[in-house]
Symmetry: none
DNA sequence: GTGGTCTAGACCACA
DNA sequence: GTGGTCTAGACCACA
């Protein structure tokens, strides 16, 4: 279900947090569905349960999952997760625009690049290259 | 010339690398101009010379500066630096667009947010709040 | 009669204990009235009988209910339960006041906040938002 | 500087987080002052560095401290910490008022108890019993 | 069975 | 030296 990339230089718990939230956003993990147990997932990924635990803690802190003691962890409201992710994206976009301005990229140039980006992405999707 | 933010969570060498490249992009540090010596800058910023050295190495790796043994470090071609930074920004933008698509942000919504971002940024600049 | 909130982070037995004592305090469960049997309640709530058992034990420890072997569990004196709960609340209040003093909240400010709190609570009640 | 209470049933990292934030609120740890290093504090308290680390992480998440890689952790703006704590107290107060209403404690009774609480607290302070 | 806390101890990045 | 991540493994609370 989840694959970690050993070449990715981010810590394991961070990669895992992202992979899991992607699965929730994509609807692969649905509302109120149980996540694999900390131990099971740790065994599957050949990592330490503490590392998985740390991801689950972070996901709970963000409100993406909720945990019932003795029972397990479950997916929260998918719509809320998606909304939260949108906010994160728009915040990143604002930061990127500040940088763009600092190197004299005009709004028009930026927009053109956005068009290109969306076109490429949709092409990639059609070709299944993602 | 450079001010480091102790509350910035990035490592010092990374902040310094960014500040210096910003100065080159903005043209404050001009082509072939000498950068302060590692020791001078370290003393000015009250940081470890090793940390400054690390930034200089990173800037050299990127081709932003060149080092002449026994003479010091000098700024490379400003235009190239700016071009390089633009590429970095556009690469980040592509990544952000992929994420946007995954949460069903349409190209139109994205564009709208870009407009807002540019408008806010220019307002901030006029008011000197940056 | 009782609804558990799966997203509440407290353990189930603790939520159940509170819900049941609230019902006794509110007089929904009256003096000497029988509580549902452990098995019945467990089935109704789709939880483990051990969990219900644990709540009943806790309620008995507090003197809120009494158990007659072979017959079941029964509500104790409602007035006493309410009195006990009041004591708990006032104890919490004292602790909160100590904390308030540590951050220099004056008695006047505290009182003002109490007024606001009561006003909001009564508004909520009128609007049925609880 | 900090003493842990083995009778306190809360986890060590939570007690420690509270003790440290109390020291910051009381001004014992002042703005931009360095906290003891993770290893030092762990040794002093005879607990594992990971446990101290967890407290520091939580304090950073709350904005009470900031961490500079390779240098250590430092106290943030004391005023902000105090303000944050005030909000926590007022939130707890609101919850307590809801409970008070459920057992028919009138606003007047509640106010009376607040007065008593403040009076006792100030007496305790004068007698140094805290 | 489930998650939560903690220890002992290693190894890494950064200053 | 500093903090950050991770493992191996124990023990606890809860269902």
């Amino acid at each position: 279900m989840v694959l970690l990339d050993s070449k990715d230089r981010r810590p394991i718990y961070e990669q895992l947090t992202e992979k899991l939230s992607d699965l929730m956003i994509a609807g692969v993990l649905k509302e109120d569905e149980a996540l694999p147990s900390v131990r099971t997932l740790a065994a599957d990924l050949s990592i330490n349960p503490n590392t998985v635990q740390r991801s689950y803690l972070e996901l709970e802190r963000r409100g993406y999952i909720y945990t019932v003691k003795g029972k397990g962890s479950f997916v929260s409201d998918n719509a809320k997760i998606q909304e939260h992710k949108k906010q994160l994206i728009f915040t990143s976009l604002d930061a990127l625009i500040s940088q763009a301005i600092s190197v004299n990229i005009s709004e028009t140039d930026f927009m053109r690049q956005v068009s290109v980006g969306f076109r490429n992405a949709s092409t990639n999707l059609r070709e299944g290259s993602l």
